[in-house]
């Protein structure tokens, strides 16, 4: 019983996500993971930079990319970063329903982003015949951007899992770290996207 009490305190501590040892460890563990993810994405970026001009007479980055869709995708993901900040704000104020609401909006924005990306890939494949196998540029592009899209998809699955699993529990010191680690992961996805829209799309459009 005392165990339950410590997880459902009458007044929430200031930082419920780091109030328990488990929470602290989750927090450090996720940052350790993000350090590793940085290196993983760096190797994909390096490969892309090395191969982006190897188009094998297929379409080049300047011919392919349209800035409008990429701008829309950037806005969607950037806004979803802010909505997850809102969710964590309500978590710290111990307002479970509002946290769930903002997490839900974050998820919807993530789905919209993913929809745009699927449309983009479909467009490249059907209008330009630009596939994973058409050139080294194609392989590097789909690997890098697809890996990021895969991270978004994984994040969406993770988000739905914690939202549904904890829907009836309310907020406590056991699940607060879970929501917080998700929000850090989601911000990191946005960090990677900032480099993708800069290095792949904008620099690809400049030449």
């Amino acid at each position: 019983m005392s165990h339950d009490h410590s997880l459902n305190p009458e007044t929430m501590p200031h930082n419920p996500e780091k109030a328990t040892l488990e929470g602290k460890n989750k927090f450090l563990g996720l940052w350790f993971f993000l350090g590793g993810e940085t290196v993983l994405f760096a190797s994909l970026f390096g490969t892309y930079l090395a191969l982006k001009n190897s188009t094998a007479d297929g379409p080049t980055s300047e011919e392919l990319f349209g800035l409008e869709l990429v701008f829309l995708m950037t806005m969607l993901l950037l806004t979803s970063s802010l909505t997850s900040v809102y969710a964590m704000y309500h978590m710290k104020n111990n307002d479970f329903k509002k946290m769930q609401l903002w997490l839900g909006i974050t998820g919807l924005l993530g789905i919209a982003f993913l929809g745009c990306e699927i449309y983009e890939f479909y467009h490249y494949i059907h209008e330009y015949g630009f596939t994973f196998r058409s050139s080294a540029f194609g392989s590097a592009f789909y690997t890098l951007v697809g890996f990021h899209g895969g991270h978004v998809l994984f994040g969406l699955c993770w988000l739905s899992a914690i939202m549904i699993r904890n829907a009836k529990r309310g907020l406590n010191l056991y699940n607060a770290p879970k929501f917080n680690t998700f929000s850090l992961y989601w911000h990191f996805i946005d960090v990677v996207w900032v480099f993708i829209f800069t290095v792949v799309y904008l620099m690809g459009k400049v030449g």
Binding site: E10, T11, H14, K18, F27, L28, W31, F32, L34, G35, G36, E37, T38, V39, F41, A42, S43, F45, G46, T47, L49, A50, L67, F71, T74, M75, L78, S81, L82, V85, Y89, K92, N93, L184, H187, F188, D190, V191, V194, F195, F197, T198, V199, L202, M203, K205, V206, G207
Partner: protein, 104 residues
């Protein structure tokens, strides 16, 4: 209990002020993004000038994301900084190695 409510009010106020900073961060990131897209969309800049500028804009945005949205500016993030900068260091080496192999 009275004491607790007081601290709660204090924390709520703190969280509110934190939220203001977050909103400024968000606005700045949006503005930087628009500038980056304008540079490329208008085609007014030469390649040699545009690429470094785009990279600087991206780096500033990422710094905002890490330090404000992900709270790296707060206390108790020393170990976090060690881990993420360790990753960034390895990332820089990786990108440099892969690009240099092609250039020379």
């Amino acid at each position: 209990m009275v004491n607790n409510t007081k601290t709660n009010d204090f924390h709520k106020q703190q969280n509110k002020e934190e939220m203001k900073k977050q909103l400024i961060t968000f606005a700045t990131m949006i503005i930087f993004t628009i500038i980056a897209f304008l540079i490329v969309g208008s085609g007014m800049m030469s390649k040699m000038l545009a690429i470094p500028l785009l990279l600087v804009l991206a780096l500033v945005q990422v710094a905002f994301q890490f330090y404000y949205f992900m709270h790296m500016k707060d206390k108790g993030h020393e170990m976090v900084a060690v881990m993420i900068y360790g990753g960034v260091w390895a990332a820089v080496l990786t990108v440099a190695a892969l690009s240099l192999i092609i250039w020379w």
